[in-house]
């Protein structure tokens, strides 16, 4: 069991390489380093937000942590238990504790099953008997996520997108998990529905004492929902800090550029913002730039960025960054870096 200062989830130097083959014999000529050595902890009751653009490996990371994908290297510890290469059989009881919510509320629900069957499936799979029967338990959960318990016998297509996402959430809650990994939980939803689901996730966290890892590309949503935020770029963790620190004084130029790129819903500020505009697209994860992977798009890049990979170091309290020329660094840390 975890003690308060022991992480619920601990990820150490996690790697996932997808082989790339070429030629007649399908020789392996390289690898897509989708996740390339990332480490972080998630503590009980908190929400860790993970942001990044396409190809940064955030979704792969979520699938590795929940063991939907087999890691190439590194370790995943859940409640101190090493689950990195645990067999599916031994993993099954742990699946109760760690659940996943997916982006697409349309394709992740089986259209031929009723809501009752979908939400009740975890009970059947795990062979759990409940006091008043599965139906009652399922209806309680439906009510919890704001759905009408009388809709037990309806099918997914009878619900709107937001309601379907609620069904998806209800399914993950069935077995009272300790942790939920949510991969883009609101990005497929309409703006007004997004807010409903975000609020629901927050309410459930308070009520059920849940721990979240929320993976998303929308920086505003991540800021709203997270206690701590991790920024990923091309398979690497480039910055990890408490929400306020990250959004108010980002150290990594990439984090800064990301936030600067978010359109601001304020017409008066359309021209006066000091914007950082990155050139080009994110490079292909198939052949990422050497050393610091951001150096091809970074306006602060120097010679060293092309030859030496910056390690992820803590430059302020609970604020880690991987950059040779970080910004917003406290005086003493800056001196330590230059020394």
């Amino acid at each position: 069991m975890t003690t308060p200062n022991e992480p619920l989830l601990s990820v150490q130097d996690l790697q996932k390489y997808f082989p790339v083959t070429k030629g007649l014999l399908k020789r392996q000529v390289g690898a897509v380093k989708a996740v390339d050595g990332i480490s972080f902890d998630v503590f009980k009751g908190e929400t860790l937000g993970v942001v990044g653009e396409s190809g940064c490996g955030k979704s792969t990371m979520g699938r590795l942590v929940t063991r939907l994908l087999e890691p190439t290297g590194g370790k995943v510890l859940f409640e101190g238990q090493d689950i990195t290469h645990m067999s599916q059989g031994r993993l099954r009881p742990l699946r109760r504790d760690m659940q996943m919510i997916f982006q697409d509320p349309f394709s992740s629900l089986n259209p031929r099953h009723t809501v009752g069957a979908i939400v009740g499936a975890p009970f059947r799979i795990q062979g759990i008997k409940t006091e008043h029967g599965t139906k009652k338990a399922v209806q309680d959960i439906l009510e919890l996520v704001g759905l009408n318990p009388e809709h037990y016998n309806r099918y997914p297509h009878e619900f709107s997108g937001g309601q379907r996402q609620r069904i998806g959430i209800a399914r993950t809650l069935a077995l009272k998990p300790k942790m939920i990994i949510a991969d883009e939980p609101v990005s497929a939803l309409d703006v007004s529905i997004q807010a409903q689901v975000v609020n629901l996730l927050e309410d459930l966290q308070n009520e059920l004492d849940l721990t979240y890892v929320v993976i998303a590309h929308d920086l505003s949503v991540v800021r709203h929902i997270s206690d701590r935020v991790a920024v990923m770029y091309l398979g690497k963790l480039v910055e990890l800090a408490d929400r306020k620190d990250l959004y108010e004084s980002p150290m990594h130029p990439y984090t800064n550029a990301l936030m600067s790129a978010v359109p601001i819903p304020d017409p008066a500020r359309r021209n006066d913002r000091e914007r950082i505009r990155l050139q080009g697209d994110v490079p292909s994860p198939l052949s990422p730039p050497p050393a610091c992977r951001f150096h091809t798009r970074c306006w602060k890049a120097q010679a060293i960025c092309k030859v030496e990979e910056p390690p992820l170091v803590e430059l302020a309290t609970r604020h880690q960054v991987a950059c040779h020329f970080p910004e917003n660094v406290p005086q003493e840390a800056a001196e330590a870096v230059s020394a």
Binding site: Q163, V191, A195, P263, I264, P265, R277, L278, G280, V282
Partner: protein
Amino acid sequence: MSFLELKDLKIHFPTDDGLVKSVDGLTFSLERGSTLGIVGESGSGKSVTSLGILGLHKGGHARISGEIWLDGEELVSASQEHVRGLRGKKMAMIFQDPLSAMHPYYTVGDQIVEAYRIHHSVSKKVARKHAIDMLGRVGIPEPGRRVDAYPHEFSGGMRQRAMIAMALSCDPELLIADEPTTALDVTVQAQILDLMRDLQREFNSALIIITHDLGVVAELSDDILVMYGGKCIEYGAAEDIFYRPEHPYTWGLLGSMPRLDRERTERLMPIKGSPPSLINIPPGCAFHPRCPYSDRTQGKADTEVPALLETEGGHLVRCHMPREERRSLWENEIKPMLETT
């Protein structure tokens, strides 16, 4: 008369389940060189409007009525062939997902050449030179080489640039962009928005940008039109919509959206329920089942469709609540809540 004027445009689709009133009486105007943002959720009718202006519903099952005036010409009653001649030349469109919007079997260059040669009788060689020129203007490096690449060989941002090059190849006076950056990464989105702003200035075209993202609208639009259930429910200058919104739906959109430029609010203020199905639009005010103030309409909420009325200097609102009540609600309740930390 303005460069583009829509008068009571209706686009309805008869289906087995009933009449889908995708666009139900839309009126607005737009001048050359200015930008209109159309905001709405799924099923609000915003995309159907854009395809309707281009005449792409003509000849199909749609029932279209009302008027679309483009540069002094009425398009709803014009022949299909005539509108086709204007498409791509006088008015052009940029779509959401550039990968699926470009033909996978033809090179990017061929597709731009095709667009150019529909409206200009020039040789393939001249058209190709023009295509390379356009690719360079939208910021694609090495356009002479990239012109022969296929869409799948481009990155997402480059594809959208190529799509823009294609749309601008005949120098259109009206450009409609339907969710032009929704499929893109945020850093690339910023580049594309900058590019569209610069090109609009350069070409002095009228621009309609259709999106669900209030941030994108605020970046580009002079005027904003908020759509709900096929109707315009609020229209005004960008400042009106963001600083003095008067419709509860607009308040709801603003309250639903977490913002990076403000202190973090503890709680988002979503709109209850879901957007209506266009087959079954609620009677009276389409928004009333989701409106927290529907009890303040003297019982008219579900019986009478509110009219789109001017509240002040070109700011139009479709709401049963008296103007004073809306203003005081905004000033005293909504605005403080959006700004609290």
